[in-house]
Amino acid sequence: MFDIFQYSFIQNAFLAGSLVAVVAAIVGYFLVVRGLTFAGHALSHIGFAGAAGAVLLGVDPIVGLLLFTIGASIGIGLLGKEIRERDIAIGVIMTFTLGLGLLFLSLYSGYAERAYSILFGTILGISQADVKVTALFGVLTIGVLLTLFRPLLFSSFDPEVAQARGVPVRLLGIVFLILVAFTVSMSVQVVGVLLIFTLLVGPAATANRIVSSPLWALVIAIALGLSYTWLSIFLAATGTWPVSFYIAALSFGVYFPVRLLSPLWRKQRGTAQVKDASKRNPALSTDMTVAGEQGTEAEALGRIQGLTRQEELPC
């Protein structure tokens, strides 16, 4: 059953897949908490035009991917967070580059498989050289993310205070989007531009529903990303369906029930916390609640009485 591991293309798939899964989970976590998931999605589609253009020119698709996604990420970063129409602007650029991609492909008279692999990934066709490129960008991205970790997290959740505390919020935002561009370019060979959401956003969004601690959310996102990838390669290698389908199906199959059921345990935990608090100091918290309620009532009553009194005043 495990003899598939003796094939070098399976080994390459596992290596590249694992790297992409880890990087995509971490970058995806920040995309989710920064509310930038649409930008992540758009970057992958913008990358499609770059990859198609590179194929047309006869160079490695990764070159076109990097050029287009990095250019677009700087553009999106400069749009800023305040701009209300940001997502519309991103969408308009994205659809334009999709059109460009289509043009490049129609001008290219070679094999349709090239286009197919950009759109849906070809993890089982990854070469040793691809693994090395993936490893280079993977290590680079993780290294930068670890260096920026605390200020990036701080500015993702509370940009105003972070800025006041001296965090270069805008610069961090642009650097982060360049890291998204790296991640998207790496991920294309595994899941393709159309299915990138499955590895980028799926695990992180699921993890965010399960726990509230940033560190644990990251750990769970990485674990989910790795297990989707490993299980999918294994299933695809022993069957006939494509890897990308399994990854997409697993990502959806786990997120959906978690999304539906998470209000249950979130609420439970909330009440548990309140119970816990009153247990620790029962007299205090009950007194406070009662006093608080009376206070509000008295205030309300006072206001009503005040009104009536005012009305009774002879003018």
Binding site: L146, V167, A207, R266
Partner: protein
């Protein structure tokens, strides 16, 4: 007591602020001393938040002299604690109360940082000071407005600042929670002897704690005790249109001004 030198925490001399060609503040002068509780009032758009940003080094004056703790304002000044105007957090936000407070401690530092008992201790004490230990691990989106406000105050206080800037901490709070937050801030102000500047739209919940008020309108300010500033004469002059201050039911009402 009187021999103690009270070095001013904030000094403004003839300060002008213009943003995008529009004059926000004109020839503003004021001094804030250590341990003072200042309430900043004024209509929307009068420049209250802009003045706080000036002190934080986020906005540059177009003229005049600004000194915060004896120096020009600069970003990342640990001697200032700041809680911006608070928006209601999404219920789904995957962040715990203790994480919010932790940001104030080391959120600006590079790297991931290592979990340590010392760090936990500092955060625990910060939560304790605002009576928030019971919900330390709760997701912040599920806390009430008052509880969230406590966390923001704890976050602002964690670096032991000498100046606390709070932008509308009482907005969106019901009367009970309003009282709780006011007494919490007053207690912090007294026990730590730090200067507090609190932006509010209603002086009434703060009448018993405010040392002085800064009233802003039309680019100008009036400063003094609440009794000195919140009068029909001063506010009419400040607004440039008739304003009547009415005292009723132990409360002060400003009538005629679009607050």
């Amino acid at each position: 007591m009187y021999s103690e030198i009270r070095e001013p925490v904030i000094e403004l001399e003839h300060v002008d602020i213009a943003l995008g060609g529009r004059t926000i503040l004109q020839d503003v002068g004021m001094t804030v001393n250590q341990g003072e509780f200042i309430v900043m009032l004024g209509p929307n758009g009068a420049g209250k938040s802009t003045l706080l940003k000036l002190l934080l080094g986020l906005v540059k004056p177009s003229g005049g002299v600004v000194r915060v703790l004896g120096n020009a304002p600069r970003r990342g000044n640990k001697a200032i604690g700041y809680a911006p105007q608070h928006r209601v957090l999404e219920a789904d936000l995957a962040l715990r109360a203790r994480d919010v407070v932790g940001f104030g401690l080391d959120g600006h530092r590079w790297g991931t940082g290592l979990p340590s008992a010392k760090r936990r201790d500092i955060i625990y004490h910060a939560l304790q000071e605002v009576d928030a230990t019971s919900f330390a691990d709760a997701p912040v989106g599920q806390l009430s407005g008052g509880e969230q406000q406590r966390l923001l105050i704890a976050q602002a206080l964690i670096t032991n600042p000498r100046l606390l800037l709070l932008d509308e901490p009482l907005a969106n709070l019901d009367i009970t929670h309003e009282q709780e937050i006011v007494s919490l801030i007053a207690q912090v102000n007294r026990s730590r002897n730090i200067a507090v500047i609190l932006v509010a739209h209603d002086i009434n919940p703060l009448l018993s704690v405010a040392d002085r008020v800064i009233y802003m309108a039309r680019g100008h300010v009036a400063t003094g005790t609440p009794g000195e500033v919140i009068t029909s004469r001063v506010l009419t002059q400040l607004y440039g249109s008739p304003v009547e201050v009415v005292q009723a039911l132990d409360r002060v009402f400003v009538v005629g001004a679009e607050t």
